[in-house]
Amino acid sequence: MDRFHEKDISGCGIIGIMEQSGKRFSGRDIITSIASMRERANGLGGGFAAYGIYPEFKRDWCFHMMFENKSAMVQTEEYIRDNYKIVKDEIIPTKEDKSIKYRPLLWRYFLQPKEEKKKLHYDITEEDFVAKTVIEINTRISGAFVASSGKNMGVFKGVGYPEDIGRFYRLEEYEAYIWTAHGRFPTNTVGWWGGAHPFGLLDWSVIHNGEISSYGINKRFLLNYGYVCAFFTDTEVITYLFDLLVRKHKLSFEVAADILTAPFWDDIERQSEEKREISQALRIIYGSALVNGPFSVIVANTNTMVGLNDRIKLRPLVAATSGNKLYIASEESAIREVCPTPDEVWMPKAGEPVIGRLKGKNG
């Protein structure tokens, strides 16, 4: 089976924890929390995203790489060296775990694009240049996969139950201000390491529980804006949609949510005139970016963590706060496992985003 040409469909457990003050904390809690939702996974995929883990390299693009063989690594390094200065590279430290099998070679690189290459690509931003590299590696170099490519963040994922994956990557030794975790229950793909969640591109990470019925058009809508979906996964499409709307079109997460899970026309009719005008325009312009089908999703970037449900709430999502901490999860039990007495617990409404922001920053 061609792993790149299978669309991803899965049921899942998801959790995200954000310390909005920016204070970093260890990965122990997120492992404990996701372990409580073991029933929602089937051992075919688990993963984590962590923000703030490489403060000493926070200006460098960090690529978390998976290589299926040595030649993929050689090819990739050759390609990277052509375009980047490698500030540092090392094996991603892991711990033996009996339940984790057939692991690929895991390596990380801290990179700076070469000045001459930046000049050559004067017409695109540095972000776009990096994104291009990632897509190039993922689609052209067989056996190589970029798990994440942001600054001061990383994605740790693989085939197995998420808590085993977390221990395998020794996440309790890292400190981050945003942690997200995902336990996967795929219904169609044989689990492969790259296909586990989170999906990462630049500093975006996306974890997702659901099946996107609008996938076909979301993908083609993105094509109109130059995004080529290479992996046939829902997370990839959601990541690109956020990248387009938030990074390129400079819309807020709230507006992005109003596009991805647009209010119904009947509800729009009832809005105030001013708001109705905007809602109508959003649906008219971004109709093909409407994400249809059941999903709950947690999207994060350097400054923000957002939880979002589909427009008729067909998948679970619950949120809680405790001090500066924001929790978003598939199940309340997963939150209470690590935060027994939150200040507030609520069920976000369908299509209503829950947004955590770093204090003093704009998301």
Binding site: S213, I217, L223, H249, A281, P294, V354
Partner: protein, 518 residues
């Protein structure tokens, strides 16, 4: 010289046991196929005059009449069919171009019938449209690449205060859009080719459903101005009936370059049909032929089209969408791309099976490509060029059912035009004799004896029923796929699979074969 009789196409069978000689058929047949003999008090029929419209069969109070195909057969020959022999005989008699009406009736593959839809099972709940919202609303018109809002200032994460779109001001000025409550419009059919009662039925139905009908190149009869908000006014090569009030009356303007039934040729409304009313509407003298040239003689290239598009936009002060209708030909994708770049707000594409009031049979049956392939090619091309959002795509030509509609949309159309289906709803049985002006159903005729047979109250009701039924079926199919807004299906070819199609067909349509998962 006596004409050699051509074998009749139909046989009128009259059950004498049932016939009560009430003469309803005699009074109703515009082709005089039935006659009454007072001496014997019997009604007899002349099958040679029958065109197969089935009006008499429908209206006979005792069901005494059955119209059948003539079972008389030539020696079986796969190459020289009865139709071929009949045509040659006719031309040998008349030396004329064979005329016909309606769309191509040749058995080209209908791709719709080789495409199947998806439905949700387990991993994705289906949605019941009778219990949950299911949205078909569609906007036709140019969409900008992105929205511009005033700079935002996100505030808190308190759950009670979710800043949303309301906290911004809209800077983007949207181009004019047509709002459709269901993604189906009535195709261009001119007053002239069809009766005023048929036009009124279409206009009223469009208004009631929340969609649009299209004037064709017939101008706008004074009685139709009140439906202007639901009218697309056409500007075609003859420019008949085009004047300021006409352009201002419509909700949108469509420049007609081509028609699926007769790509590359113009139109001809014979002088006999140009009555007082039609003369006034088309602005031509009574009894003169209305000849639409094959090309627009002010459009010999794409930049000329651009000038006309903007001339029309200027004339209407950029207040309404201006689109272009072309027939689907080999080069349809690059042509459509050029049209979008020339400033059209929508592109209507009429496929091989598109209908007509009158066209040379040889053109209708042999020129153009099927609409399915045209939609796929155009949608792909516009996306590859990153201009798909700049114009809406309306597909036309042989849309027969709600499933054709939904498949067209999934292939990439924004909406569809229906012409033939609308006529059938009003009574038409596709006898293909529209060009004779003797339509027994009162649709494709201007004869006052015949036009009154279409009561617009009934016509409207039947059209509204049809669109309601199709819309409900579309909602059911969408719900089955777990989708609750039509825009999530538009261009979503993942929801389609091909059955019995070649690899090339699948590639051109951009769909996977049935049996292949995501």
């Amino acid at each position: 010289m006596a004409k050699r009789p051509t074998p009749t196409e139909f046989i009128i069978e009259r059950d004498e046991g049932k016939c009560i000689a009430c003469q309803v058929c005699v009074r109703m047949c515009s082709n005089d196929a039935h006659s009454y003999d007072p001496e014997t008090d019997t009604v007899t029929s002349d099958s040679t005059k029958c065109v197969g419209c089935h009006f008499c069969e429908t209206i006979c109070p005792t069901g005494a009449i059955i119209i059948k195909r003539n079972p008389s057969e030539f020696k079986l020959n796969a190459n020289w069919s009865a139709q071929v022999i009949r045509n040659i005989t006719k031309q040998a008699e008349t030396s004329g171009v064979l005329l016909t009406g309606m769309g191509c009736d040749k058995p080209y593959p209908v791709y719709w019938d080789h495409i199947v839809l998806n439905a949700s099972q387990v991993t994705n709940p289906s949605i019941d449209p009778l219990r949950e919202p299911m949205e078909l609303r569609t906007y036709i018109g140019r969409k900008p690449d992105r929205i511009e809002l005033t700079a935002h200032s996100p505030q808190s994460t308190e759950k009670n205060k979710i800043p949303s779109a309301m906290d911004y001001r809209l800077l983007t000025k949207l181009s004019p859009q047509l709002k459709l409550e269901t993604p189906i419009l009535f195709s261009a059919m001119s007053y002239g080719s069809i009766s005023l009662n048929a036009c009124i039925s279409l206009a009223r139905a469009a208004k009631e459903i929340g969609t649009f009908y299209n004037t064709g190149e017939g101008g706008l009869h004074k009685d139709l101005y009140e439906y202007g908000a639901h009218t697309i006014v056409q500007v075609a090569s003859g420019r008949f009936g085009v004047h300021r009030e006409y352009l201002e009356a419509g909700a949108a303007i469509e420049i007609k370059i081509g028609q699926g039934a007769k790509p590359g040729i113009g139109g001809h409304l014979p002088g006999e049909k140009v009555s007082e009313e039609i003369s006034q509407t088309r602005m031509i003298p009574v009894g003169t032929d209305a000849l639409s040239p094959a090309p627009h003689h002010d459009i010999y290239s794409i930049e000329d089209l651009k000038q006309l598009i903007f001339a029309l936009k200027e004339a209407t002060r950029y207040s309404k969408p201006v689109g272009v209708k072309i027939s689907a030909v080999h080069n349809v994708a690059p042509i459509a791309s050029g049209i979008v770049r020339a400033g059209a707000d929508f592109v209507a594409i009429d496929g091989l099976r598109g209908g007509t009031g009158a066209a040379p049979t040889v053109i209708r049956d042999n020129v153009g490509i099927p609409i399915e392939l045209a939609i796929a090619a155009v949608d792909n091309r516009l996306r590859e060029e990153g201009i798909r959002n700049q114009a809406s795509l309306i597909a036309a030509g042989g849309i027969r059912s709600s499933s054709d509609v939904i498949k067209a949309i999934a292939l990439g159309a924004d909406a569809v035009y229906i012409g033939t289906a609308a006529l059938v709803a009003m009574g038409c049985n596709l006898c293909q004799r529209c060009y004779t002006g003797k339509c027994n159903w009162g649709i494709a005729t201007q004869d006052p004896y015949l036009t009154k047979r279409l009561n617009p109250d009934i016509g409207t009701r039947r059209l509204v029923n049809l669109l309601r039924a199709w819309s409900l079926e579309i909602k059911e199919m969408l719900g089955g796929m777990g989708i609750n807004a039509i825009e999530s299906l538009r261009g979503n070819r993942e929801q389609l699979r091909g059955v019995g199609l070649s690899d090339t067909d699948l590639k051109l349509l951009g769909i996977k074969p049935a049996g292949e998962a995501w």
